[in-house]
Symmetry: C2
Subunit: 334 residues, 2 copies
């Protein structure tokens, strides 16, 4: 009897405690303070409210609230070239003493002569060759440390900021807002998966297991009794264009309900996401702000956006103008 009475008291106290907690909820502050009160912000909030209102026709259970974000040009800048390209060039400089032949071999020689235009003239093929030469041949843990050392020290040539300070403040708020509403947030990027994972938790609040990206093969080896995963100079997966829905299926195993991109490389990801049944949301970040960031779309070699602008609106996708819809671009400088 005593034990039962005690349990009853405890349960009563627990119920009381929950009521008190609910009563302390302050009026919600604006969750997206860096967004102007224009259509995109309203579209985001309206969508989140309808899929999280229990009993509403568009309600989506928390487990299915998957939101996917491209990285380059969507969560951080990508001009004048992908930030991972700066990493590749810095690695070539660091590794050059071990590769004397690079002095005579393109595109490596161009990098060593600081002629980045020539280095990039070979397009994706040349970039891939340089990535393989600098991203393979070490263990996954050694590569993790190399990326961490670089990302915490390297600075963007134009802004002088660390690359992780060139993330978009409005998107950081959006990530937080979605997670506060039960969403699981993923990166789905054409960039290297192991180039992003060392810092996405700190910068975006996205843990390594929620990062999908391009990858090279790895091989399990036991060296002197110590197991390691060794990175091989062999492409495993390209997470871009039609590869993005494939990568999403491989890693997540279900179709997202929200997708955010900025270039035609994200078109299939947005198409796949928004063509599922039930409530769906697609958004394209349009780089329109030459003053605070960069302005580019149809004719850009990086982040080309044409089909998304042409077809996006009639597919119901929201187009964000960085110039008109965002109050700030980057977080305050540290």
């Amino acid at each position: 009897m005593i034990s039962s009475a005690m349990s009853f008291t405890r349960i009563t106290l627990a119920v009381l405690a929950l009521h008190l907690l609910a009563a302390t909820g302050l009026q919600a502050a604006d969750p997206l303070p860096s967004w102007n009160d224009t259509a995109p912000k309203q579209a985001i909030i309206s969508f989140v409210e309808k899929v999280t209102s229990d009993g509403a026709p568009d309600f989506v259970p928390a487990a299915e609230r998957i939101a996917v974000f491209d990285n380059d040009g969507t969560l951080w800048s990508e001009r004048p070239m992908y930030f991972q390209a700066y990493f590749i060039f810095d690695r070539i400089r660091a590794l050059a003493p071990q590769h004397p032949a690079w002095k005579e071999k393109q595109p490596f020689a161009a990098v060593l002569n600081d002629d980045l235009k020539s280095a990039l003239a070979g397009g994706e093929h040349a970039l891939l060759e340089m990535a393989m030469a600098t991203h393979a041949g070490m263990t996954t843990e050694a590569f993790h440390d190399i990326v961490t050392a670089w990302i915490t020290t390297a600075k963007h040539p134009k802004t002088g900021r660390h690359y992780t300070q060139m993330v978009y403040q409005p998107m950081l708020e959006l990530l937080d807002y979605l997670r506060a509403n039960g969403f699981k947030t993923y990166i789905v990027s054409g960039g290297g998966i192991e180039f992003m994972r060392p810092w996405t938790a700190r910068v975006y609040g996205i843990p390594p297991e929620q990062v999908v990206g391009s990858s090279i093969k790895t091989k399990y080896e036991v060296r002197h009794g110590r197991p390691a995963l060794v990175r091989l100079p062999e492409l495993n997966f390209v997470d871009d264009k039609a590869g993005k829905p494939v990568g999403i299926n491989q890693h997540i195993g279900r179709r997202p309900i929200m997708a955010f991109g900025n270039s035609d490389g994200d078109f299939e990801m947005l198409e796949w996401t928004t063509s599922g049944p039930g409530a769906r949301f697609g958004m394209i970040v349009h780089h329109t702000d030459a003053e605070r960031e960069w302005a580019y779309d149809r004719d850009s070699s990086v982040g080309k956006l044409a089909r998304g602008l042409d077809e996006g609106p009639r597919r119901g996708w929201t187009i964000v103008s960085m110039k008109n819809d965002w109050k700030t671009i980057y977080p305050p400088a540290k």
Copy 2:
């Protein structure tokens, strides 16, 4: 002033509420009631307590509490053959009318003649051929529906149970116990990733995005304006043996701190997990119970376990005897 005083009151109430909630915590019940009070249960609890005690030398932050589980023979039975093989054979029977040539073609003809021994005589190669012929050629969503229909109706020839009722009750309790202590639980199986995902959330509480397995390639296509991922008869990844650490790195991006397996196909996963720095836990489920389940190890064609028995103990891995350490094997029949 009023607003500030109100906030203060609210915060005070919130703190009070949290204290009350803590005070209502009843004495914890045994989290592993289907485990005998033998060494393996004690090892699990002792490990979980030391990595979750804030401030203790072996404390591991929640984000890094990753536990990986093999599926066949570790979470559910695998005798007399892998359950996915029953699925493959049932698919061959269902698809036979569309493939008249199978009547004359091995190993398909053997399956259609209910001669499963001959069908399996070709080993892994024959099984893979049958898997490709039955698992490819449809969209990922159609395959999801096929698996769901099969898993909810098919029954094991010996026990008469649904396959999902041949999961191990002690392991279900272990999964719950780890999650209650902040662990993220993953399946890392040689079985097909899309064969498991449709039912692992319901059966194990493990969502699709936390399932790692073998896979075939998929291709993104837009058919009549509707996008789909089409399954191709081409191997993508074999998540077995040295492939398991590779699959873990690809999907999770960090090294687990606990690993659970039952065969030498799990050896590298246990080795990779337990050789990291800090507190580590490896466990092998040894099938020793011919009466309640099956007894097999060194000489078995399915779930062969030899190296794990020889080297596991001196590597600090815990060996579970199903006969001695588990009170029950399967959940109560429904």
